[in-house]
Symmetry: C2
């Protein structure tokens, strides 16, 4: 049986998982690939560091050049996180004639044009299934399985850490307690900022938007709100009204007023109708709902992170690359600068939808009239209002308003006007609502 | 741009959808394939029959040889249902050097060995994404995206007609009314026998079992029960106990007593815990839950039938075939006779699980004791019992029993014993229960 020599750079959690799959399950990998995937070298920074996998003698090295300069290694899983030295290594690997597999979404979101252009110019490929939604093969499904379709909408729960924290908040925890629990169970980093502030989800959404829509968007330009400012009070109100709050990454193809298509992109905590498939994705799981013109609606659900789910995606990419499928697919993927954008980002202010508001208001006569007037001033119809009796006199009361469909811009302006009212204590909380 | 000439045989519902996608969306197909997919010929039986798509002059023919003998046509979508002449055409196409794409699961389930062997011998490929689960790309996901895994379990809702009928029965319709409604809306054929008796689901399950487990099973050997004998009474009892009834196609890899792996396969109406993802798949939709050793649990959900969802799968296969991906994948797929079976079917009697029973019993003292004794005689623990008061004296009463885990064989024997009791009117209804 033919053999493809494989290298790994970085033996952290994911890298160890990849090594395990290649070493412990070489037989089935060979069966599925029709050739042996032979782990030749694995480069790490510190040889002394304990690892989760036993490697046969001669594989481990602390000299990355032994991977890059080995002419027999054809495919490399580059599994170092962060931007540098990952970016430099990636370019060196491509120049050395290797096809690369990576899970590094931050690197692709930040330096996609440079990396993909280099690969195309050098006749190499970059596979990145593991960069979005962990074990869910969403890249292959969008880039290959749905190729007969125009995708019209992607709604994703793309950050497992946030989703775990939100699930705990729906069980009654406040934000801080939920974060501690996520950290204790290994679902959140010591510093979970990139996960909970929407950065991670926006980077993944940018990759999906390139692939699915031929958009050319920088992840940093995607309007995003995280869950790090979410108050458990709003989780309770959402539940009371039959919704769950999810950190939703949204890309919707819309007709603009001018008749031109535009792509609405944002990441934000969103009230999703309880019982709908996305609302019921709980714990550290991910899900992506895809609407496309021929197939209709599909939903993909699975583990969004973790050692073996991510390793599953990396090894599938290694197999596809060794077999030659990646090379065929890579040429036609719409990634970054190889083609002009087919769609531009639509102005966020024009995005249409329903909204949830919560303002802390004084318990005085006329307050509801003033607040609802502010919505009327911006042509926003109110769908429902929720105000409970005060528990102690003089305290500000939460006033919750759900609107009918309006625009993000009108909702923002109404919010500003409400903030300026004397009877309103702080800027209202505002979230998207999806049925 | 390079061009791949495509032929279609059969312009029924799916064929017309495929023609529409190729003709109306040639630009995006070309973009996703990196080459033009050019519809050269479409062969039909009767030129006079009205069709759902307009074809440019010169494409339509009633002579199938014009497709088979055209040396420039490289790929053919063979979209005739049933066994003959589909089988003969398939073999002729392969011998004529064409790669074939098909949606005909009955043909593959019945003549898979002959067709796949012929394709392999002739160096051709057969793509069949549309044969299972309509628009859900489950074949590509199992055959390619999960190649790093050993799949351990597949639970699928694979027949949209049955699922639609079941949904209506959960809304209160009896079986006959639900079937009429399904027919009225186009979700059931005039003769829905193959859909509602479990044949269709068993054929699809056989294809998935070959692909995912390297099993070599004839679909006719898969134990199957349809929904055609389901009483709405059992739907109501299931709902009362927090379950929904789904026609589940199950393939579970299990350790047998001898330590050898075995594959448990069956299709049967099953009580699935309400709120679980499979229970909430309603209407004509399909879903497949996949458990695999590296990735964990994934769920794929989408339209299981219909013109454009099925056409989406066929055109994805046409693109994969034209691009060359199918050729690479096809060689390693574990389909029928190209390799020895890696797993045998486990004896159905040994399959473990929980069961639902409903017996119609006389309203006499001592009946519950006799029935529960019959379970005890076969070492079956009872988890819960449900018996409502009689509404009119003398009528037999439904007695519902949910068991703890036991084997299918013990459940069947207990059922026989209960049937023989004087106080029991007819053979009890028996269904699997899944949490």
């Amino acid at each position: 049986m033919e053999k493809t020599k494989v290298g790994i750079i970085g033996l952290g959690t994911v890298g160890s998982g990849v090594a395990k799959l290649l070493l412990d399950h070489g037989d089935r990998t060979a069966r599925h690939a029709g050739r042996v995937l032979w782990l030749e070298k694995a480069a790490v920074r510190d040889l002394a560091k304990p690892r989760g996998c036993d490697l046969p003698d001669g594989i481990l090295t602390d000299n990355v050049d032994q991977v890059i300069d080995d002419p027999e290694i054809e495919v490399v899983a580059q599994l170092i996180g962060g931007i540098e030295p990952a970016r430099t290594l990636m370019l060196r690997l491509l120049k050395a004639g290797k096809d690369v597999v990576t899970a590094n979404k931050a690197l692709l979101a930040e330096h996609g044009p440079e990396i993909f252009d280099a690969a195309r110019e050098l006749g190499r490929s970059v596979a990145f299934e593991a960069s979005v939604a962990g074990g869910i093969p969403i890249i292959a499904n969008i880039g290959q399985c749905l190729s007969a379709n125009q995708i019209t909408s992607l709604h994703g729960i793309l950050n497992g850490t946030s989703n775990f924290i939100l699930s705990k908040m729906h069980d009654g925890d406040d934000y801080a307690a939920a974060v501690s629990e996520a950290q204790r169970l290994g679902f959140a980093e010591t510093d979970p900022a990139m996960d909970v502030d929407g950065t991670d989800a926006a980077q993944k959404l940018a990759i999906l938007a390139h692939l699915a829509f031929g958009a050319r968007v920088d992840w940093g330009d995607i309007p995003r709100t995280g869950i790090d400012t979410l108050d458990v009070v709003d989780v309770r109100f959402a539940q009371e009204m039959g919704y769950k709050i999810k950190l939703l990454a949204v890309a919707d193809l819309v007709e603009s007023v001018s008749g031109q298509g535009g792509l609405e992109l944002h990441v934000s905590p969103t009230l999703v109708r309880a019982g709908s498939p996305l609302a019921e994705v709980s714990g550290p799981f991910n899900a992506v709902r895809v609407d496309a013109d021929a197939v209709g609606r599909l939903l993909f659900y699975g583990p969004g992170a973790g050692q073996m789910p991510t390793a599953s995606a990396v090894v599938a990419d290694l197999i596809d690359t060794a077999v030659g499928r990646t090379k065929l697919t890579f040429q036609t993927l719409e990634l970054w600068s190889n083609r002009a954008a087919r769609v531009s980002a639509a102005a966020y202010a024009g995005a249409r939808g329903r909204f949830y508001f919560r303002a802390m208001v004084d318990d005085h006569p006329g307050v509801l009239a003033k607040v609802t007037q502010a919505f009327g001033d911006h042509d926003i119809s109110i769908a429902s209002v929720l105000q409970h009796e005060a528990t102690s006199q003089g305290d500000p009361l939460p006033l919750v308003v759900m609107t009918h469909e309006t625009t993000e811009g009108a909702a923002a302006r109404a919010c500003q006007e409400i903030t300026r009212l004397d009877c309103v204590r702080t800027e209202p909380v505002r979230m998207w609502v999806r049925d």
